[in-house]
Symmetry: C2
Subunit: 338 residues, 2 copies
DNA sequence: CAGCCTATTCTAAACGTTTCGAACGTGTCA
DNA sequence: TGACACGTTCGAAACGTTTAGAATAGGCTG
């Protein structure tokens, strides 16, 4: 910028004025400066600008698992709308791990992001302290944090799972296995609550043996399903609390030489692009990923531009049960044998 | 930092010295300063540091499609190793679009990233000019750019597709449809070349009608497959040049009421976690995503630390044909009817 | 004891912006 | 003609670091 100023024979203040349009500049100088910018190929240094302005036009985005199609779909739309608003996105992934999560958040804050969009791995105190301490516009997605009162967009997880479970019960299933995500997350807890609520509504007993706690990943779900299916009285149906885990569930079913849906019915949270082209066509709960992403991005943009109400806004969206073919009436299911 | 200096009654230079360990400081002052840092809760401002040092410890990562599991797998490992090396990752996605690509790269460069890892959407001149002009350490992944000579890690696409095609030919298929990715990309071109090479090696004629150019996305692949399957003499097998497209292929097959593999064999580039649990078990070419990510990250780290050889390094990895059940001998395939 | 060396600490410039307030020239009005 | 307002331009400080080189103090050597 100094070079430009020299070349155009003006002060840096004037150059800054024409670049930012922040002050009136005579047409003559303006064109001289613009020309000098062209000639020199000048690009404003965003770092220096950030230092002075205290703003980076960058938002930090941390999701639990970048390998999970649900998150990547959401990330893609967030990225898209933020980019249109002139913001860059710094992406991290905590790998469903709280230690990693703290590190990553520190890294984002260290880089002076202007705001944070987070799908937390777990409910640890350190994270909450960091978030509170950073005093940045923050929006939580997918998962809430106990005692942290910020903007958020989440699903009505309880209702969605309740509906799905009720659907299975409606098919006559009485022993429904449940592969849970981590109970450290609000989604893990809410989804399980939905399962329990459905049981209760149907006056079915809740059995501890039927629920296994995983961590939203395929491997643990595989083990959990194995246990479920080799137990004394195996369930006639299984619900998986997310998309990655259902793959583990299906692998276990395959390895144990059972057939879905003939011998075990399966349903799962999160829809897939291929859910109705590969067999068995999975019955799932579809999340409105587009809306989640858009709303999250909009919430943070509103905060950043200071035009949000002071009170945090909490958006709760509804899932949609996509009934396909992986669940069938229990009357058609051969009796489970110990 | 000024506050810390005041609190400890020393100069900022000394504070800086203890924070960075860049100069010897007496134990007494050191502890006084460390204490002051604790009390104040001081955090060094990375922006100011970047401005002074001209380095951000951030690398820009642009992939073609963040929704594509291949890319997300690679991104995850790159992110992981860079994080361990103290680098943050700024992620963009060009959406397989060259305009977007230019914008995104500008955005990254504008943010003063220290290096670039790119899976380019296409071979446009603007991008090349920007890359050349930025004069940043750059590594290309997955796709090369004609005339840009940087570090890169790619797959031996030609060989992989040739093997897969030869495998199908070995099963007796003579009319093999090919759903290509964009020929603007090196992967698009190389994979098609592999298909052609296999045909040639088997002394089979290359027929224009059998190949359809998509853009690596599901929707176009669906249309392309529809055309292929409704053509006068439909192919007995179809190869899809990537993972997203094969879903379109399968949807088209379903919608046209054909059965895979009974009536059409299918194989595809890129493996899936669920490829051998949902039916039909897809035959695919698995890419070594872990290795690709690790090597790409290592290449950029080496460049950044200045310990690379001057000449660009180009790593070529091999794919692995995962033979499952979506291809069957043509003798078992009912004769295709016009 | 003077001179010198070493170890530690400090001063101040620099990184590239933005912006406040001052300065300047010109025209208007009383 | 002097006072003043207005429109434009500029000088300089500030953002929070790093670092070269100066300064200081103390100890050693001859």
């Amino acid at each position: 910028m100094l070079d430009v100023a020299k070349a155009a024979n003006v002060s840096v203040a004037t150059v800054s004025a024409v670049i930012n349009g922040s002050a009136p500049v005579s047409p003559e100088l303006r064109s001289r400066i613009e020309q000098a910018i062209q000639v020199i190929g000048y690009k404003r240094n965003a770092i220096a600008r950030s230092l002075k302005l205290g703003t980076t036009r960058t938002v930090g985005l941390m999701v639990a698992d970048i390998t999970n199609p649900f998150f990547t779909d959401v990330v893609a739309v967030i990225q898209d709308v933020l980019h249109r608003a002139g913001y860059a996105v710094m992406l991290c992934c905590n790998d469903e791990d709280v230690e990693m999560q703290d590190e990553q958040i520190e890294l984002l804050i260290d880089r002076s992001v202007d705001g944070l969009i987070i799908a937390p791995a777990g409910d640890d105190e350190t994270l909450k302290r960091i978030i509170a301490g950073a005093n940045l516009p923050t929006v939580l997605i997918d998962r809430l944090l106990d005692g942290i009162d910020t903007d958020a967009v989440v699903l009505d997880n309880r209702r969605a799972v309740q509906d799905a479970t009720l659907y299975m019960i409606g098919l006559g299933h009485r022993r429904i296995g449940y592969i849970s995500g981590s109970l450290e997350t609000s989604t893990g807890r809410e989804r399980l609550a939905g399962y329990k609520a459905a049981l209760e509504a149907a006056k079915l007993p809740y059995e501890d043996d039927l629920v296994r706690i995983g961590n939203f990943r395929e491997k643990d779900a595989y083990k959990a399903t194995m246990q479920l299916l080799t137990s004394a009285e195996r369930p006639t149906a299984i619900f998986s609390a997310n998309n990655l885990m259902v793959i583990g569930v299906m692998k276990a079913i395959r390895d144990i030489c059972l057939k879905c849906p003939e011998e075990v019915s399966v349903a799962s949270f999160d829809d897939f692009p291929w859910a109705d082209v590969f067999q068995p066509h999975l019955t799932t709960i579809a999340q409105p990923v587009q809306a989640i992403g858009e709303q999250a991005a909009q919430l943070i943009l509103d905060r950043l531009s200071g035009k949000s109400p002071a009170a945090p806004r909490r958006l709760v969206l509804q899932g949609r049960l996509m009934i396909r073919e992986s669940c069938r009436p229990v009357s058609l299911t051969p009796r489970a044998i110990a």
